[in-house]
């Protein structure tokens, strides 16, 4: 035992001095990095909760080009399915005007000096990543253009349902995509998502003009 310890110690020292340090294994890296996360932020316990990953986020945090296994993909879709909640009213198509306003609103729930942004409701963030109504210039391109969304797909019940589910939890159709699971993470309420659906599919909405 003693010999073994000595040997490991000198081997470790040898590694260091020879300048051939080795990469830690994945579990060790994970442990070190997770510790860093929880030491790095000053926050109330409620705010610190935001650092904790749910199961889906854990699976979707693979380093580099590592691919999802089939089992993981299946689990993600199942978790996404189970997460989706509909408005109490049962109405999944709300008011496109409210949706229009929300789509262009990128604020909400950010934290500075321990205080959460003081607003009535969160913006929907869509404009940050998607082109919306024709001619709008200040739009991102992280996601595909949604211009003419309803014009192309119509506003059937099936389209409304797909769109609602997609916005509520984008990973139900595309596990680990870069689109946030805006309903499932609590960023948007079911009612807000219904307004987003209306904004995307209503023929009167500027996005379909």
């Amino acid at each position: 035992m003693k010999n073994f310890t000595l040997w490991t110690l000198s081997a470790a020292a040898g590694l260091l001095f020879a300048g051939c340090a080795t990469y830690p294994d994945q579990a060790t890296t994970r442990q070190m990095a997770e510790k860093m996360v929880f030491e790095a932020f000053s926050a109330s316990p409620a705010h610190l909760k935001r650092l904790e990953q749910d199961r889906s986020q854990q699976i979707c945090s693979k380093v580099g080009d590592a691919k999802l296994s089939q089992d993981e993909a299946a689990e993600l879709v199942k978790l996404a399915r189970e997460s989706i909640k509909y408005p109490a009213s049962g109405q999944i198509v709300g008011n496109w005007k409210t949706g229009d306003m929300l789509a262009h609103d990128g604020a909400g729930d950010r934290i500075r000096d321990g205080k959460t942004e003081n607003r009535q409701e969160n913006g929907a963030l869509c404009q940050n990543c998607h082109a919306l109504a024709p001619g709008e210039i200040n739009v991102g391109n992280l996601g595909p253009a949604l211009t003419g969304y309803g014009k192309q797909r119509g506003n059937s019940e099936a389209v409304a349902k797909y769109t609602y589910d997609k916005i509520y939890n984008a990973w139900v159709y595309f596990p680990c995509s870069n689109m946030p699971r805006l309903g499932a993470t609590g960023h948007l309420t079911p009612e807000q998502i219904a307004h987003m659906v209306a904004y995307l599919i209503d023929p009167q909405s500027p996005i379909n003009k």
Binding site: T29, V37, F41, R50, L51, V63, D109, C129, G140, N141
Partner: protein, 270 residues
Amino acid sequence: MNKKRGICAATLATLCLALVTPVFAQSGDPLAVGRKMLVEDNPGELWIDQGKALFYEKRGPRKVSLEQCDFGMGPGKLEGAAARLPRYFADTDRVEDLETRLLTCMTRLQGFDRDQLIKTAISAPASKGSDIEALALYITSRSNGVRVNVSLSHQKEYDMYKAGEYLFYRRSGQTDFGCVQCHGEAGKRIRLQDLIHMTSKAGAQEVSSTWPAYRGSHYVVRTMQWRLNDCVWQMRLPDLKYATDYSIALTTFLNRQGNDAVIQVPGFKR
């Protein structure tokens, strides 16, 4: 809110530049002067002299300069030092980035209070900037023209690098963001803001060689720590503390990926 002060500061900076660069004034075409200044003159240059003065001044409760501070190449040796940061330091037994190392020296050598330094480390927009911002820029500027060369020969440097890589891909919070969601592809934008593609060599090199940078919309010099704070804020995470291993790990990862870029600071950012 700070717009008015901001414009004043910018005008002042422009005036100062006009004073210290009489060469351009001779060209006769005022528009050409303006154009040339935009390309060649970075208001951030003004912070270099400020940082240099702070570096050599005897300061702090112990009334000493930073000349005894070892940034990795030996006490007071600044040439090329920033190009190798973050790196392992035996005296603290940890990997430190530029800002952490500055804190170490300002507290250990000069006797400043760490909490106090941290409180003022990131300055208000359109202010005259913080000591740490000016010092970080001055020290990095002494590596201008030098290639980034972050080594991972110490085990703790390897560990830091791997942790940084892990963190770059770590998703959390209500937007499901990790860094890679915004910095993992070429040609992407959040609204009109171009996002650097950091999983490409060229993108990582842009990061590793241009900070600290003059931030045009803030009229001050900004450091990497400020940049990380801003991204984390957009991610809806809580307040990131100054100079923690989280930032050092990400900076180690990014700078190492950006090895071989030629440092040219201050960078100029939107």
